[in-house]
Structure formats: C-alpha cells, structure tokens
Symmetry: C2
Subunit: 155 residues, 2 copies
DNA sequence: ATAGATGCAAACTCTTTGCAGGTCG
DNA sequence: CGACCTGCAAAGAGTTTGCATCTAT
C-alpha cells in the first residue's frame, strides 16, 4: 500500500494507538460496512468482502467487526434478525418497516431535553439514547412505488 | 383448577379465542415473566419455572414464550445479551445501565409529536416507537447504595 | 524479530423442530 | 375422539475459539 487517503490515514492512526493493525481484511471489512446503510449482518458483510477477498474467513469477519465496534469505528446493534452493524457512527435513530423489514436511518433530533427528563426522574446518569420507530415505509405503503425518504442509499 | 381469578379468566378467554389452551406450563411461564421486571431471557424463565414444575422442558418454555408474544400477552425484545421477554405490555421505554447491564423500565411519555415529526419527514406511516436510554444507574453511580428509581421490583 | 492477524476447523450457545405420548374439552 | 400440548432428543443457526501459519512494522 503506497497511497492512502486521509480517512485511511486517520483510521490507521486510531488503530495504531491501540496496537492494532490496518490489515487488508480489516480495511475491506470496514469499507463494506461503510458502503451501505442496510445495517448488514455479519453474514452479509462476509458475502460482500468475499467478492474482493475470496479467501477471507467468516471468523475474520466476526473478529474484525467486533474489534472495530470496540474501537468505536462502527456500531453494533441487536435486532430480532440478529446482530447488525452500522458504519454510520453519527447519532441517528432507526425506522424499521414492519412489512419489509428494512431499517432506515432517521436523523436524530438534538434532544437533550429527553435525556434530562429521564435523568431527573430516575436519578440515573443518562449518557446516550436512541429511538426506534416502527411502521410501514413508503415502498410498502403504495405497492409499486418508492417514496422520497430519509437518505437511504443502496439495498 | 376450580378457582380462577379474573385475570386468569380473561387470559383464558383470549387464548381460547385463538384455539389455544391455558395449560399449567403456559400459565406458570407467564406468571414467572410477569413476576419480574428484569426482562428475563428464556434461560432465566426456564430456571424459575423449573422451581415450580421440575419436569418442564426448555423447549416448552421457548414455545410458550413465542406463543404468548405472538398473542401480545407479553413482548419480546432483542438485546446484545440475547432475546429478552417483558410481561409489561404497557408502552414504556428502557434504561440500560452500561455498568451492571440491568434494564430498567421508564414510563413512556405520550409523545405523539415525535411520531408525527418522523412521519412528515419520511412519508412513512409510524405505528410505534420506543426509546432506549443508556447510562449509569443509581446503584452503579454510588458504590454501596441503591437509589430511588423508576419502579423496579425484584432482581 | 515479534506482536498481531489470518484461515481453518472444531466447539459452543442459543433456539427450533420431529416425534411419540399425554391432556384438555 | 380430535386438536393441542408436552418432554425428550436431535438438529440448526449464529458466533466464538484454539492453533499453526502468515504478515506488518
């Protein structure tokens, strides 16, 4: 690897600070997760990584997804269909379509008041919060058409 | 079973309307889930049910948890630590302590505006929403003491 | 050189399923 | 009786781990 872009350099530094290496597998796994907003499962990431690295093992994909999540480079979320990964680390909510199962990103409102309210009622320290919406997405509401949505990209 | 209380009768009716029976196992499994707000996993429910029905099988516990969830008698939620069940079917949010892992119930605010906002931004039909809070609970903030909290009961 | 990472296969955990027998109405 | 349900054991799915080998620095 002679050329590296700025993002890769920053990532490289982040990992190095923890004694971790930016291997080809790790880089491609991260690229795959970042290239979609479909909140992929480990199995899906594996399938896509294999297109570029046919000899990669599923264990490597799992290990790296966990490692990258531990480093905060991506996030992990439990879902009825299994653990899903998300390369979008900006604060955002999710909308799950009960018809097709797709998970859409919804920009989070800057809602400090919500946390404050819970904190004052419970006496707990609220560090974070996330809202999950459930309903029917545009594509599923009117059979045959998509709708202007939240900014989804690929499948 | 000669005596049944009102709740049991109502449940019985709900199940019968679907061709389901209120067997001893099913009833006790439900009682166990309802007797705690610890959002138990199937394994924990199994352990507790076995105290009252030593010959119950884990398969029966799984089958009934799924059945009861399908009937809306209890709810199911995905969690990093596995699927958890909740006998509290009233609308409520959750607070997960990042230190001890406990999940506390938080009364949901009647927030129709939140749904409306997402609906208008996305064009989606929002049927439901739930917020997950993360932070440090009272017990974990000050080592050695519990705190006045949201209404938790047993462990 | 050496700590870290990989590929492979085996192991593990959690959950579901097939089936023969039991139970409820 | 017939439909539903149970216990048991086996199967499945998803994920993790041990280990010899390889690779990045």
């Amino acid at each position: 690897m002679i050329t590296k872009n700025v993002a890769a350099l920053a990532l490289d530094a982040t990992l190095h600070a923890r004694g971790l290496r930016l291997t080809r597998q790790r880089r491609i796994i991260l690229e795959v997760v970042r290239a979609t907003d479909a909140h992929p499962t480990a199995a899906l990431v594996y399938r896509r990584v294999r297109r570029r690295l046919p000899r990669v093992s599923l264990a490597t994909v799992y290990r790296n997804l966990r490692t990258l999540a531990a480093e905060g480079v991506l996030t992990e979320r439990a879902d009825p269909s299994g653990v899903r990964f998300d390369g979008n680390t900006a604060s955002h909510d999710h909308f799950t379509c009960v018809a097709c199962g797709r998970i859409y990103d919804v920009p989070a409102r800057a809602d400090r008041a919500v946390r404050a309210r819970v904190a004052s009622r419970t006496g707990f320290e609220v560090l974070n919060h996330r809202t999950e919406f459930y309903g029917r997405c545009g594509a599923c509401r009117r059979p045959g058409g998509r709708s202007p949505v939240t900014g989804q990209r690929r499948k």
